[in-house]
């Protein structure tokens, strides 16, 4: 983390924000900003903050332990609750756990399935995980994915003579640009007009889906796609190929790389510091002279570009053309992942893989245990509720607390 004050503004800012950052959960108090919990604000101003190094170390250690123990405990509790659900439905819970493990993680075959499903979740989760640093709860992930996929297809079709690599670059660029602009609209509505970003993002999902349907039914429609209106297809040789001999496509690599870059951006750059400051206390950030508007717009652009890229991958690696299948609601699963990961970009990787594994095991629950098809949804819902509840447990246990200084 970059803590050596880079500008006088940053120093003022650190002073202004200290009270807010010292508490484990900064409630944002800016006008109209929603109250959300942000990542533990570890030592932002370490040289100036005062405590002796050993106690600081110990606090960080205990804090980290808390941050791991509580979600892990929550997942454990939800697994037990899910076991009751299975038992009520006539399946042996332990056999179900074994099947989930078998279908998700027990072999390389299972791992491939898990990773294939995890790939789009990572990119979609970042759409929620980035703006939340600013105190914005954006759930327009699906819209950005759909718009990104649609315009990536349009761009790919617009360059019929380009080489496969060039086509993919053009598609990825168009997908990221359009997805980014889409979420930037949400950020701009918030910043300039005070429109609630959660509601506008949610509603813009439906606008995006309507645009997709309009385009594939109208201007972009391949007339030979009679009963499932689709755009013209991207030629096979220009599609994103799987990695080596696996069934995993390159979307997974994009997802992991994006998570690492975002993590670095948020935690180790001045820009990330500005974002977290705005999210921590927007008034203090304004007083300190931070460019709240441009940071908001840029952060929203990055947030939207990533699901836009996920949309491009869906077209270029899976579907081959734009049609209603693009709207498979990966975006909503992304919101779940972002919250489970407590908005930490590196944790997003892990949680996406866990959720991917859960999704991959949905089939075996139906085929072997004859559980209803909504079972994975029930499990996801349980995990989500328990995790949200567990948020209220932070700071409740002495063992995770700093010893009296």
């Amino acid at each position: 983390m970059r803590t050596n004050g880079t500008s006088p503004a940053d120093l003022v800012l650190q002073a202004a924000c200290r009270p807010a950052l010292a508490t484990r959960h900064c409630k944002t108090t800016g006008p109209g900003m929603s109250e959300i919990q942000t990542e533990p604000a570890a030592p932002v101003a370490s040289p100036a903050a005062g405590p002796k190094l050993p106690s600081l170390m110990s606090r960080r250690w205990r804090g980290m332990l808390e941050a791991v123990a509580i979600p892990a405990g929550a997942i454990f509790v939800s697994i037990i609750l899910f076991g009751f659900f299975c038992a009520v439905n006539g399946a042996n819970p332990f056999a179900v756990y074994a099947s989930i493990n078998k279908a998700a993680f027990a072999s390389w075959y299972a791992w491939q399935e898990t990773l294939v499903r995890a790939a789009p979740l990572m990119l979609c989760a970042l759409c929620t995980a980035i703006p939340i640093r600013l105190g914005l709860v954006i759930i327009g992930n699906e819209g950005a994915l759909v718009i990104g996929g649609l315009f990536a297809t349009a761009a790919g079709l617009a360059v019929p003579h380009a080489s496969p690599l060039a086509t993919q670059i053009v598609m990825a660029g168009a997908g990221m640009l359009c997805g980014g602009l889409w979420i930037m609209i949400v950020g701009a509505l918030k910043y300039f007009r005070g429109v609630n970003e959660t509601i506008s993002g949610l509603l813009m999902n439906y606008i995006a889906i309507a645009i997709l349907n309009q385009m594939v039914n109208g201007p972009m429609r391949d007339p030979s796609s009679l009963n499932k209106p689709s755009s013209y297809p991207i030629p096979d040789e220009k599609m994103l190929q799987p990695i080596g001999s696996t069934s995993i496509h390159w979307g997974l690599v994009y997802g992991i790389v994006a998570c690492v870059i975002v993590w670095f951006l948020v935690h180790h750059t001045t820009f990330g510091f500005k974002m977290r400051t705005i999210g921590g206390n927007i008034r203090a950030a304004r007083i300190a002279g931070l460019p709240v508007g441009s940071v908001t717009l840029i952060a929203c652009f990055i947030a939207g570009a990533l699901p836009g890229l996920a949309g491009m991958v869906e077209v270029a690696a899976v579907n081959g053309s734009a049609n209603e299948s693009l709207n498979a609601w990966y975006g909503n699963s992304g919101i779940l992942v972002a919250f489970l990961a407590r908005q930490n970009a590196l944790a997003v990787i892990v949680v996406s893989i866990l959720l991917g594994g859960l999704l991959a095991s949905g089939g075996i629950l139906q085929r072997v245990h004859h559980l209803p098809d909504a079972t994975t949804l029930v499990f996801q819902g349980l995990v989500f509720l328990v995790i949200l509840f567990s948020e209220s447990l932070y700071g409740r246990w002495k063992i995770f607390q700093e010893k009296a200084a």
Binding site: A103, Y109, E113, V116, R117, A210, N213, N217, L226, N227, K228, P229, S247, E314, V318, N319, G320, N323, E324, S325, A328, W329, Y330, L359, A360, G362, G363, I364, Q366, R367, P372, D373, A374
Partner: protein, 371 residues
Amino acid sequence: MKHFLSSLLIAATVACAALPSPTARAADDITMGFIYVGPKDDYGYNQAHAEGAAGVAKLPGIKTVEEASVPETIAVQETMKDMIVQDGATALFPTSFGYFDPHILKLAKQFPQVQFFHCGGMYVEGKHPKNVGSYFGYIDEAEYLSGIVAGLTSKTHKLGFIAAKPIPQVLRNINSFTLGARSVKPETTVQVIFTGDWSMPVKEAESANSLIDQGVDVLTCHVDSPKVIIATAEKRGIYCCGYHASQAAIAPKGYLTGAEWDWTHVYSYYADAVKAGKTLMDGSIPHLVRGGLKDGFVKLSPYGPAVSDEAKTAAEAAKARFMDGSMVVYKGELKDNTGAVVIPAGTEMKQQDINLEKMGWLVEGVIGSTK
């Protein structure tokens, strides 16, 4: 290895079929995998297929595996792969239209010994892998009969049709329903509302209410799950005709009849063929299988209590003509609802006519537009 396994299974299958004993051991059973895009109890498209799967599961020597609510994404590829590798399925029935391209095509290349049967009739000779086949029914024949019953039951002569998208399959159902109704009551109109997507319960309920407010007294639909529409019609005290599966249980008073699939019949045909060692690859199972009332692909729901004897007689008379093959629904001169002639006088388009599969118009008597 996978190929080896599946060829082994096929070999086992063939060997089993050759045995005279009717009680084949479970290990020699043929495994058929069924995949649905929505829940199995949706009172609609998926339920119709699930009922078909339940029908073949009763046959000796057949084992079925099922997975419901599988989206048209890479998830369906993984499901197909699991059914092949883990459950040993040798014949797959991924039933949603959107599973075909690219998902089934991709898997079919990976598993050339497994047969993929897709509902929708999209197979093109020479273009698609040899182990892919498709099947579909001329359900508009049953729609025509539904239209006759609706036309003779309606007192306002205004019928309502709530549809998902203006695509050829849907337009053909609307047109056949309308032609059926107008064949017995020429003054009948059919008001159409397109909701824009396959499953939009809220819009479907709103559309149903709005049509009823405009004086429509028989409602039907072409969406994935007719449940909401049928329930709304019953609640408002009007009549309705079902689609996909029977919704009579939802509307015991107002349900007249409905156009239903009979997938049990179709899947039993495939089960017998596969059990007898026939394959798509060697051509002993045709790549395109289609049929209507005559072939048992589609059927009419049993008539409800509100259907008059006159309506039953008229519908049965038309049905008899479908059964003996003398009925032609689309024949000239036929105008669309803008007044343009779409089928010139003297031209007959039989059910198999490829031009009917590109239908982009609404027949005279329909109020609505495909745009």
